[in-house]
């Protein structure tokens, strides 16, 4: 499961710094917007080459927006997104790509796998057209070369015999087959970095595992770096070396997968983990500790984002700004006032909490 890819110089393949994305709420024709949804608020992380980072969180927390900014489908409001260029080895700032050649080079390096295999393919184009689209758009190779490349990729993702799939339409394929095609399309340019936006969430449970296994195999073989966006911790555990938990536009906890799952520190992560279903009828679920729903991220106050739902709130939480994401040892980063630098929990113990309620 873990891929110990050689990491050249230990340098990051993707480096996101202080990323911020604001969506204006009400924009009249002549009025300047005054309210903003803080979809992503000061997010920083790194992904090492060959590593896959899982971005976990509930809907509306900004994880998909992060992915879209990384592939330049949306523009960042502030901050920088560096993606290492395959050819030159330099970190290219995505937010400042201006020239056409730079953009072309970036599109070769970075690809995306979309959530919905039924909607992410044009129903009027054949599988060949869909997979060869990046080659066609960027004018790479002659038609026979493209055909050969597409056949090669279809074989690689397990659609065999590939020739029989070339000229089918998306509606003639099953969901799993379509997602394989989507993976083939993402890999046709030999990208170094792939953003996978919940690629298995729309699939039947029985075929999820085969798609995930395929993606892992390809990551191993081709040395692809993944940003894997999901809301499913089990999927993230299977796919990712590291997991970042997002809440309302902020990363609240980030650690290597097993470290995070075994020693969750942030109250939100703990609540998420307690909500994971366990296949045991006699298992008694610990009470989910958080209350209420996600608050709107419209002009949020400066204090901790989780304050309204956190059962452990103390004075320090409401009197100071949102806590920074600090390392608590073992490469375990948490953004919470109630976690000591040593990783020790400073908040109310569980028992006391039970008494109170």
């Amino acid at each position: 499961m873990t891929q110990d890819m050689p990491t050249p110089n230990g340098e990051a393949a993707v480096k996101v710094e202080n990323l911020r994305k604001l969506f204006p709420v009400s924009k009249g024709m002549f009025r300047k917007a005054t309210d903003f949804i803080h979809a992503i608020d000061d997010v920083s992380f790194e992904i090492k080459p060959g590593e896959s980072l899982g971005l976990v969180g509930e809907s509306g927390c900004g994880k998909t927006t992060t992915g879209r900014i990384l592939v330049k489908l949306d523009e960042a409001s502030e901050g920088s997104v560096g993606v290492r260029d395959q050819a030159s080895g330099d970190l290219v700032d995505v937010t400042h790509i201006k020239s056409k050649s730079q953009r072309k080079e970036f599109r070769r390096n970075v690809q995306m796998i979309f959530q919905d295999p039924y909607e992410s393919m044009n129903p009027r184009r054949t599988i060949f057209d869909t997979v060869a689209e990046p080659l066609m758009v960027q004018k790479i190779g002659s038609i026979p070369e493209r055909e050969r490349r597409v056949v090669e990729l279809l074989n690689l993702v397990g659609l065999t015999p590939a020739e029989s799939f070339l000229f089918r339409y998306p509606h003639e394929l099953s969901g799993g087959q379509r997602q394989r095609v989507a993976i083939a399309r993402a890999l046709v340019m030999n990208p170094s970095f792939v953003v996978a936006d919940e690629p298995t969430s729309m699939l039947d449970v029985s075929i999820r595992i085969s798609i995930m296994r395929l993606m892992l195999e390809l990551a191993d073989d081709l040395g692809v770096t993944y940003l894997y966006i999901t809301h499913d911790l089990a999927v993230a555990r299977y796919m990712c070396n590291r997991i970042a938990v997002m809440y309302l536009g902020k990363i609240v906890e980030m650690a290597p997968t097993e470290e995070l799952l075994q020693r969750p520190m942030h109250p939100y992560t703990r609540a998420l983990l307690s909500a994971v279903p366990v296949p045991d009828p006699s298992y008694r679920r610990p009470e989910v500790q958080i209350k209420g729903g996600v608050t709107k991220a419209v002009n949020p106050p400066s204090e901790c984002r989780f304050i309204e739902r956190c059962p452990f709130v103390q004075d320090v939480c409401s009197s100071t700004d949102h806590p920074p994401l600090d390392d608590r040892g073992n490469d375990h980063q948490v953004a919470c006032h109630l976690v000591a630098d040593s990783g020790e929990w400073l908040g109310a113990p569980r028992a006391e909490l039970d008494l109170r309620s």
């Binding site: 979309f114 758009v137 960027q138």
Partner: protein
Amino acid sequence: MTDVRDTDMMGAEVLDESLWKIRMRLLWRSFKRNWALFSQSKMGVVGVVIVGFFGFLAILHPILMATAWKGQEAIYDPVIGADSVIVEKTVVTEVTDPSTEMSFTEAMITGEFFPEEGMIIEVPIAPAPPNAKHLLGTDPFGRDIFSQLMFGARAAFILGVIAATSAVVLATVVGSVAAYYGGWMDTWLMRQADLILLLPLLPLLIVIGSFWEIGLWQLGILIGILSGLGATAIILKSQALSVKVKPFNDAARVAGGGNRHIIVRHIIPNVLPLSFLFMMFEVTGAIFLEATLSFFGLLSIPMSWGIMINTSHTQGYTLFGLRAWWLLFPAGLAVTLFAAGFFLIGRAMDVVVNPRLRTR
């Protein structure tokens, strides 16, 4: 598994057939499938038969002019031909049947200054009722109605194709561009469409017709512009909007496609089925408009169904009841049937384009 990074592009051919041949086959296959769906509806088949019939008439005219009517252009030309059908009439005091009898006064007008009862006089008549020489009779100027009808079918096809094509091409592009770019581009194009919708079509064309000579081509393009930038653009824009939000556009962008690539390869192909549908309805509108304008005599077209009705009207035969039915009925029926044919095809195509309407 091989590392695809290092595989060379040279090697044996993957497909033994060239790409365009395969595409043609796919196109043919989808055409057959769509035809199967289309032919399920009786309406559509009736429409195709009607339109096919007029298509046959339109092709028949030049063929007849070149073969059976060769050398008789002076008689059978739809515009400048003329033929006087000679009928023998008996002079009587009391006229009971005007087609075989005439009064003394009428006889004197023909040049017989001393008519007698029972005298038989040969007179040329126009309009002449249907006879062996003129299958649908002649008009008040002695021109062959059947020839005019066939010539009018050709005019109707030319006008319909020009109007529908130009309208739908314009509307598809305008709608897709407005939907894709949004913002100012959208506002500008859609307010322009609203403005055009505000203009009353017929009075506008009458005004334009009084300034410039409007022929078939000009009329077709005028209708195309007015409709393509107006109502049809708004409808196709709504379809383009629903295509625009599909994730495959994002996928194309990630693949490196620019705005033009996405509009041409992803949005327009998904709007096209609806465009084809509106092409059919566009033909109906154009034919009706042509008939109306011709009836008012505002077009400079040599001959059309509208002009045939206009002739019947201006020569005073429209209020004649059924006495000169061959002047009014063939042309009026042709306009109605032709428009109905395309409308029926459009309705049946709706089922092909819109899967929700399918019964199975």
